[in-house]
Symmetry: C2
Subunit: 194 residues, 2 copies
DNA sequence: AACAACATGTAACCGGTTACATGATTGA
DNA sequence: TCAATCATGTAACCGGTTACATGTTGTT
């Protein structure tokens, strides 16, 4: 009902995408996001449950109470309209990549090489940590029938490795520059001015 | 006044950082953000002006109406408390890198190799475009006394080049896989089943 | 008995963008 | 004189997170 093609919210995109594979509850969606798209597309309970209700009202998904012997839960499945909406989004131009990189901002503003090196080292540690978390979920991605979840994960692994190496090289460069500055013009009394 | 060390908002971080170099108006801050930190740290007028007011009330910046022969504008400068607050943030652990990558989500969900390849191609185009925008602002970054703005820009250039190449390779792989599938088992009548 | 995990949902808050409103100045 | 740019600011909206509230089920 309502308006036929209001644009999908960020959370709607990941919900519909995951539901195409199989019906799921909100709780399962959250768990799956955390083990799959999390590193480039997050979603919290506080966004998933209300969005499921909206999608249900828009009839892009249909929820049925699964009151089997199991716990109470609502299993949502994609409707035909939901499938069409998902496909339409998939064929549309993607929004440009967005970054929010606090370590890089600290680096940008660093007043001394020492601080710049520290920012790069902190950033390298973050990339290493994110790489490790991706490694953990690799087995699950590899078990899927479709290849793209694993390839997306591989992109993440390669990306974080690239970033980690860049930052480590930069930190080393800054450290060695600082060393040579410290040892060369020891007495700046009559040091050459360039 | 108020509480002595409430954490800085994202917009506050970039404002204080930029003001350390020289006093500026909100308008100039916005322009400078667009020509420097934009690719990893955005800020809009709607966030800058209110934040300047808050920072002013917290006495981390001090604004003076510059009513010279010029246009009316408010020049903000960093106070000592602002400088301390900025330095404290710079030495703190950075928040992890955050990504929101719609093209990768489309790729992740792609039902066919054709769609996956299209997603990678769209992503490659985005990275090329962002790379080109960074190239444009390179001269300004190179003119700064401190080296880190140019190095941060170089990180951006290298990052987008890495991503563009990754996506192009992936798209080519998907296209050539599709070709071999199309030409090999032409008549699937008695084709070998694995 | 108590705790972890399952499961749904809401409320308060945060912090951003876009669009709007206003008006001065500069240059074509 | 008309448009672009300079310059500040607000309001409406969007969409997220965190914390809270509630209750069940399975495990130790």
């Amino acid at each position: 009902m309502s308006d036929p093609a209001s644009p999908l919210s960020p959370t709607a995109k990941v919900i519909l995408g995951l539901l195409r594979a199989e019906p799921m509850s909100g709780y399962e969606i959250k768990q799956l996001v955390d083990r799959s798209t999390r590193f480039f597309w997050t979603a919290s309970f506080g966004s998933i449950y209300p969005e499921l209700k909206r999608l249900s009202e828009a009839e892009l998904v249909a929820g049925t109470e699964a009151a089997d012997g199991d716990r109470r839960q609502i299993l949502y499945e994609l409707t035909d309209a939901g499938e069409r909406s998902l496909t339409e989004w998939e064929r549309s131009d993607p929004a440009p990549l967005e970054l929010r990189d606090e370590a890089l901002l600290q680096f940008f503003f660093a007043a001394e090489p020492e601080l710049a090196a520290e920012a790069m080292e902190a950033k390298a540690i973050d990339h290493a940590a994110q790489h490790a978390r991706l490694q953990e979920i690799a087995p699950e991605a590899a078990s899927k029938e479709r290849p793209t979840p694993l390839r997306a994960l591989q992109f993440g692994l390669d990306l974080h490795e690239f970033c980690r190496e860049w930052c480590e090289r930069e930190a080393e460069r800054l450290r060695s520059d600082a060393d040579s500055v410290r040892s060369e013009p020891a007495e700046p009394a009559e040091a050459p001015k360039d």
